[in-house]
Subunit: 280 residues, 2 copies
């Protein structure tokens, strides 16, 4: 049984509960972060912390939790070597449901838990993902990492029903993201193309390293929207995210990308990213 | 202390808690309904039930709760004469967080509670609301009543900070809705104009009666989007919703609507709607 953390207490996972009046539950007033854990350490914290601060400001959540202390203790108590750590902060639980921000303010609800998983040896990294394209009907403030995730849940479910791994989302004729990771291509010229991190996509922490590594490898990088036609004619396609690191995409709507197998540049980026994580 | 209902049990409100792994909390996979309670009875149930079924289907939530039995008992146990009843259904609480729908499925999390409030005598109905216009950046699937409500929370907070009661949202140059109610005008010609109930707005249960009553009163009704300019030149403006019934809007971005006071047609619609509710 995992030990999780809730509002200052370490608890058995089955005992960690929040009020039915929690504003995360009633209004989706809630934000989160997920970091990879490798060799018993959580990774890239300064980037996650910076994004968490931006998400809190947008969602009007006040909280000063000293997360590194909590995350270290959770990893130790659960003996986690490899996987993820998840933390969520909500607008708190007033005595009753009402849209306006509680006055006087109520403390944020805060919880975190570990998830053991194999990040380094990952069958999808070897085999690649197959995806379908779907319209991007999410809200417009995607630069914050909020729990407004119902559309992602719905599209992930549609992808599974279509017999593939995930959906890539299309808005105004451009690819924005996968349902829960950033989307990138190595285009027909060999240039890494990735949607800019405006409000249209999450500013992925893994994405930061992906772009740095691509430049180290001598690739040109263009941060701009790209279209499905450009995706279909790309040499390689891949996703990046805390849960999957870097994973190739080999097929879109039944059409193979490049030679239809995981790309060599993607594999190189993944290998170098893992080296970076193990160095941190 | 209220008695609330959670997953089949009647509990003191302070003891009703859900898992931190609830999909309503982690993913916003969650829907809800709010019905007015007048003279100790909840109102308009067939319309709420129909919308609940549509919301469940969209959000991929399976549940067959016999709500009228639960709501009647909650009203009785809490001695509620006037106010609201709120119910919420989530995708349930699996043992761990993961985007894909749980397989095997987990039971939905279901809860409901009463809120005593004065619906019939309401100061805003007498005085009218003042509102500001804000861009509508919500997701596109607004015909379902889901807890994707963070943007509504943010805009309600901005309105309060601007010293007014609420925000009306504007998308592609058209008014869609208020943050948590449908928006209507009696235009310069005396026609009731209301955004059509496509995916752009919630198909409000109160809105159904509002349109029927307007026709009874001999008003022409146009279900089409309207622009801020049309709002500003309207004779009257008002909102409709389960929490407020029908409430006039007297000022938009500092500009008075009509004569700057609550409109006579709005008052007539409100009065007739209350008669209907007391008749049900």
């Amino acid at each position: 049984m995992r030990t999780v953390w809730l509002n200052g207490e370490f608890l058995p996972e089955t005992e960690a509960r929040v009020s039915i009046f929690d504003r995360g539950l009633n209004f989706g007033q809630s934000i989160y972060e997920v970091t990879p854990v490798i060799d018993g350490h959580f990774c890239n914290w300064p980037h996650h912390q910076a994004r968490l601060e931006r998400s809190k400001a947008l969602a009007r959540i006040e909280d000063q939790t000293d997360w590194p202390v909590v995350l270290d203790e959770l990893i130790a108590r659960n003996g986690l070597n490899e996987g993820r750590i998840y933390l969520q902060v909500t607008g708190g639980a007033p005595d009753d449901r009402a849209f306006p921000l509680p006055d006087p303010a109520v403390p944020a609800t805060r919880f975190a838990f570990t998830q053991a998983d194999s990040l380094l040896a990952n069958s999808q990294a070897e085999q690649g993902q197959r995806v379908v394209l779907r319209p991007d009907l999410r809200w417009q403030l995607r630069s914050a990492k909020t729990t407004q995730l119902l559309y992602a849940v719905m599209m992930k479910a549609e992808a599974r029903e279509a017999g593939v791994d995930d959906a890539w989302l299309v808005e105004n004729g451009n690819i924005t993201e996968a349902t829960s990771s950033n989307a990138h291509i190595i285009d027909a010229r060999g240039v890494l193309v990735s949607h800019p991190v405006d409000h249209g996509v999450l500013p992925g922490v893994t994405r930061i390293s992906v772009i740095e590594i691509a430049r180290e490898l001598g690739l040109a990088v263009e941060e701009r929207p790209f279209k499905p036609a450009e995706l279909l004619s790309a040499r390689e396609a891949f996703i990046s995210g805390a849960g999957t690191l870097v994973v190739p995409v080999i097929e879109v709507d039944g059409q193979p990308i490049g030679n239809g197998g995981p790309g060599a540049v993607t594999a190189d980026i993944r290998r170098r990213y893992i080296e970076r994580l193990r160095g941190t």
